[in-house]
């Protein structure tokens, strides 16, 4: 540190003809603030600092509702940061169209991103008018059913192998005084659960027809009605969860108070911290044990256009660093997510994570709804799903009608 500062001071006073040892400060904003997330960021920052630049950390917790509006205000206010995290998808679309984001196409070509990044849909959602504007960093998937082995032992039924067995085991769980399905009250959780049911029960074709092609007829049709019937079952199984945060719901599974929870792969961290082992204490079923499809959500970095030449160079270096194989392994191990490159190997991954890696390696992936739908449509869906899951007064038929309307006007 001191050496670099000294070198920078020297460079400034002596004014070396070449910009060697010229440490550039780059402010990076993100919402990774929990323990594991912070450790992952530290890996990234370390790698960036090693390139002779300096990572100025701007962590703001609270993702979409808190951090994102702040980041966007900064960028539109004309005082942008050096780089910022967004989710894969369309959150920064308009900022790019306004010309506020830096074009990374050169960096991408140099690093052969098109060949190494897997699945390619991640890079596609960074691409607007043929130019690349963001560097993907990790993959998270939603389609996981987490089960408490203890709960099923207490109920005297075997641990289910898939969603249907789980539904069948629900009465036994209830008889034993165990909540079958844990579901937190925040709207995004009900929405994620529903999307998971769509892909895992309905399959890829249905999922893509509804969310990619936005086919209102299919959304109102009999295939989708099956999903709503399943959602109705899930609603009954989740009745009485009485928690808000997703990790409070996960905690119910950890303590055996609930049979299972549908939640993204980040839930695994909670089991690990509680000292539970996959297989013996809990089970994980990707794709709900029905079909092996995972969506590939996650995070990407965007780089606002800066006037400062040195900072722009540092931005390119950070983009390179993010996609670097070594950084990918170090970062994702700490974060508990999957790397965005097909050519790296995570030997240290645990059983559940390996299952996920296998599925992704096989190419059984679909694009996440965050990438397919606008935030506006997602929010309308969230409103509908949270209402549906909370009150039995909406029939699956009514909910489907409203769902079809949303899809019909979706963009």
């Amino acid at each position: 540190m001191d050496f670099r500062a000294m070198a920078a001071a020297l460079a400034a006073t002596v004014a070396l003809p070449f910009g060697l040892a010229n440490a550039t400060d780059l402010e990076v904003t993100h919402w990774w603030t929990s323990g594991g997330e912070a450790a992952a960021v530290a890996e990234l920052a370390k790698a960036f600092d090693a390139t002779g630049n300096k990572w100025i950390d701007g962590a703001i917790a609270g993702a979409g509702s808190t951090a994102r509006p702040i980041m966007i205000s900064r960028i539109t206010g004309g005082d942008p940061m050096g780089a910022t995290q967004f989710n894969h998808g369309r959150q920064a679309e308009e900022l790019v169209q306004e010309g506020l984001m830096r074009d990374l196409t050169e960096v991408a070509e140099k690093g052969k991103w098109k060949e190494v990044i897997r699945p390619i849909s991640l890079l596609n959602s960074c691409t607007i008018d043929g130019k690349i504007y963001c560097a993907p960093i990790n993959i998270h998937s939603w389609q996981w059913l987490w089960l408490s082995n203890d709960a099923f032992k207490a109920a005297g039924v075997p641990v289910p192998k898939n969603w249907n067995e789980f539904v069948a085991a629900a009465p036994a769980l209830q008889k034993a005084g165990i909540q079958p399905l844990a579901l937190g009250g925040q709207p995004w959780q009900a929405n994620g659960l529903f999307d998971t049911l769509t892909i895992s029960i309905g399959g890829k074709e249905l999922y893509e027809k509804v969310y990619k092609d936005k086919d209102e007829e299919v959304a109102a049709g009999p295939e989708m009605a099956k999903i709503f019937a399943a959602a109705d079952q899930a609603r009954q199984m989740a009745k009485g969860s009485n928690v808000q945060d997703w990790n409070q719901a996960t905690n119910m599974v950890i303590t055996g108070k609930a049979g299972g929870q549908i939640m993204g792969d980040w839930a695994q961290g909670e089991f690990q911290v509680a000292g539970k082992t996959a297989g013996t204490d809990y089970s994980c079923l990707p794709g709900l044990g029905l079909n092996q499809y995972l969506t590939t959500g996650g995070d990407a970095f965007y780089f606002p256009v800066l006037k400062d030449e040195a900072k722009s160079k540092a931005q390119d270096i950070l983009a390179e660093t993010i996609v670097d194989p070594k950084v990918q392994v170090a970062f994702n191990l700490k974060k508990g997510s999957v790397p965005i490159r097909g050519d790296v190997d995570i030997a240290a991954a645990n059983d559940c994570m390996k299952k996920g890696l296998d599925i992704i390696a096989k190419g059984n992936i679909v694009t996440s709804t965050d990438q397919l739908l606008s935030q506006d449509t997602q929010k309308q869906k969230e409103d509908l799903m949270s209402e549906f899951f909370a009150s039995a007064s909406i029939t699956p038929e009514d909910a489907q009608k409203r769902f079809a309307d949303i899809i019909g006007s979706a963009d």
């Binding site: 603030t33 997330e37 912070a38 962590a59 509006p69 205000s73 206010g77 980040w266």
Partner: protein, 314 residues
Amino acid sequence: MANISTLNTTVAGIDAVSSRLASGPRGRKPRRVLSRRNVMLYGTLIVAALYYLLPLYVMVVTSLKGMPEIRLGNIFSPPLEITFEPWVKAWAEACTGLNCDGLSRGFWNSVRILVPSVVVSIAVASVSGYALANWRFKGAELFFSILIVGAFIPYQVMIYPIVIVLREMGIYGTLTGLVVVHTIFGMPILTLLFRNYFASLPVELFKAARIDGAGFWQIYFRIMLPMSLPIFVVAMILQVTGIWNDFLFGVVFTRPDTYPMTVQLNNIVNSVQGVKEYNVNMAATLLTGAVPLIVYFISGRLFVRGIAAGAVKG
């Protein structure tokens, strides 16, 4: 001083009433600790106090437990094993992103934001209130009415226009900009408070000063200001609470180096994915609330006397 005499007569009145109420066979005693009135009075107060204290109790107890004990889920039970680790962690060790120095990191930043924001917002609002109360001009009330309506606008809606205004003024992202923002949003309530206060002061004083030839600023500094110190304390308490707890403006209008403490609090408490350390959350909240709490306690007496002197006598 008037307050104390008011208080005494009030008490005398109550004594008279209560002695009538409690005129039992025991006759007069110097102190009847368990009179019916006292039981009712203190009983009600204590029940109310329990309602207010219950969450505080849960917070303190939780902040002294380890995470395994919290996972057991009995929120009311006292800690089996008291640990101050969460407090240390919240203040000095909790990581928010890369920086692992807890709340202490933002403490001085918060102070640096707090002091000028409180001073400027109160100075501006008190002068506006004074002008409205004593030097009315045509149209002033119209702007004041707009201001009062402004008190009802959710802050979030105003972020975009304010960002644009500050950007045009060239003070976006500076401490000056943040002070301006706090002054703007403190203005409606504070101006109302000051206006009503100054209007309630004896008008004769003001008239006498004007006949003596004193002008706008002279009367403000020589007469109004010395007579209204208590209302300044009231305003200070409102502003200290509001600005100290502000998160949104603090983070939109500053840089990471100057983030206020509430950004760290939010980061510790509000992580979406990842493990939640409830004990550290509780300790962090109690620590963050300490500054306004100290201000309440120190200025408690003045607070009440200030308003009594006419703040809300309008």
